[in-house]
Symmetry: C2
Subunit: 209 residues, 2 copies
DNA sequence: CTGTGTGAATCAATTCACAGCT
DNA sequence: AGCTGTGAATTGATTCACACAG
């Protein structure tokens, strides 16, 4: 099982995250087994799509029966590699604090590795039981206790600099909330989460009726 | 020009938002003209891709010359239909406040139509100069002064309910920050912005080296 | 007889290659 | 000569249809 990583379609990865979310939800409701058709309905895709997406990585169900929910959740966490990932928040304003709170509660396998800011007025303050540290501590902290992902919650004007700081601290994955396209070495993987872009996307489909 | 809306690839729409962002940025730096190659480099795609994406909607450049930055920004705003859209924030905790602030500053064509919450402890409080109103005012406010998009910043447990409230108030586009797949009539367009899903996506590409 | 897993067929998106303005 | 715009070719993703296991 869990064959792995060769020409996986991008859209497949997006959907795997969604299946994971839906499955965790039904698992909490006590559901033990699920068919591709039911999972597909929850996720808003076709049943063939669910089966094809999973088939890139192995076979996780039983023919004529369906999938064991707990097993499939575990399989997806293995595929996505999202178990016990350590996440640093860079920029602890409203947005950074919100995300810290969100992750602390979410039980989705992410641990907060630290909160960082470069504003001396913020450094030393406590947010959700953690002390905000200066960004220049990133490299040292990463060396001592691996940081997997940096979440950039800084203003546009300091985003490129903060991203470069994260990269030179040895961090290789960035979730970027700033409305800017980061230019970084190709070994670094970046995902953009620009709210205004999301609103533009919605505007387009609104206009298209 | 601006041919419009027939079988536009989904990924094209994503990229148009990105081009818009890059162009606004260079426009602020005073750049007047740009080639598809330069815009492509900024956006991190190929030049042919830029030209093909634009060609679905018309022709906006001059052969042998390039694009007038201001004209192309205007064309994209027309295509995306994102000018003067009115956005309501539903759920005004840390995240909702952060987004309100973000939009108020962003100059990207979005106006805050109102801040709504169903927690009586929050209703009446001021955030960035606006009074938080109760969610049951949505329908009335929408009727008086059109709300185009609702941004859902409520906890998972109330997200489906809040989305239904927005829809019955007549809102047809939702940006959903709650980690849940909303089930709504097909006329409503939903975009998910689940942070944990973004982190899972990054985890996957990290594992894939 | 139900529901998975998967090659084959179809449909969609990207890249190529070049014609056509400036 | 330089750069856009766009059909044609190619590559990628989804859907179909059916073999196979319980």
């Amino acid at each position: 099982m869990a064959r792995r990583r060769k020409n996986i379609p991008g859209p497949t990865v997006e959907r795997l995250c969604r299946y994971h979310r839906c499955l965790r939800r039904v698992a909490r409701r006590g559901v033990k087994r699920i068919s591709s058709a039911d999972l597909a309905a929850l996720a808003g895709v076709s049943p063939e799509q669910v089966r094809k997406d999973l088939s890139y990585f192995g076979s996780f169900g039983r023919r004529g029966v369906g999938y064991e929910v707990d097993d499939l959740v575990a399989a997806l966490e293995d595929i996505l590699g999202c178990k016990d990932r350590r996440v640093a928040i860079i920029g602890v304003g409203n947005l950074g604090s919100a995300i810290a709170g969100y992750l602390a509660d979410s039980e989705r396998g992410f641990e907060i590795a630290g909160l960082y800011d470069n504003d001396p007025a913020r450094v030393g303050h406590m947010v959700r039981g953690m002390r905000i540290k200066h960004v220049n501590r990133l490299a040292e902290d990463n060396q001592r206790n691996k940081i997997d992902i940096a979440v950039l919650c800084v203003p546009e004007s300091s985003a490129q600099q903060a991203a470069e700081d994260a990269v030179s601290a040895g961090i290789r994955a960035i979730l970027n909330f700033a409305p800017i396209t980061l230019h970084l070495p190709p070994k670094v993987v970046v995902r953009d989460a620009d709210v205004a872009a999301d609103l533009e996307w919605l505007s387009f489909w609104l206009s298209a009726h």
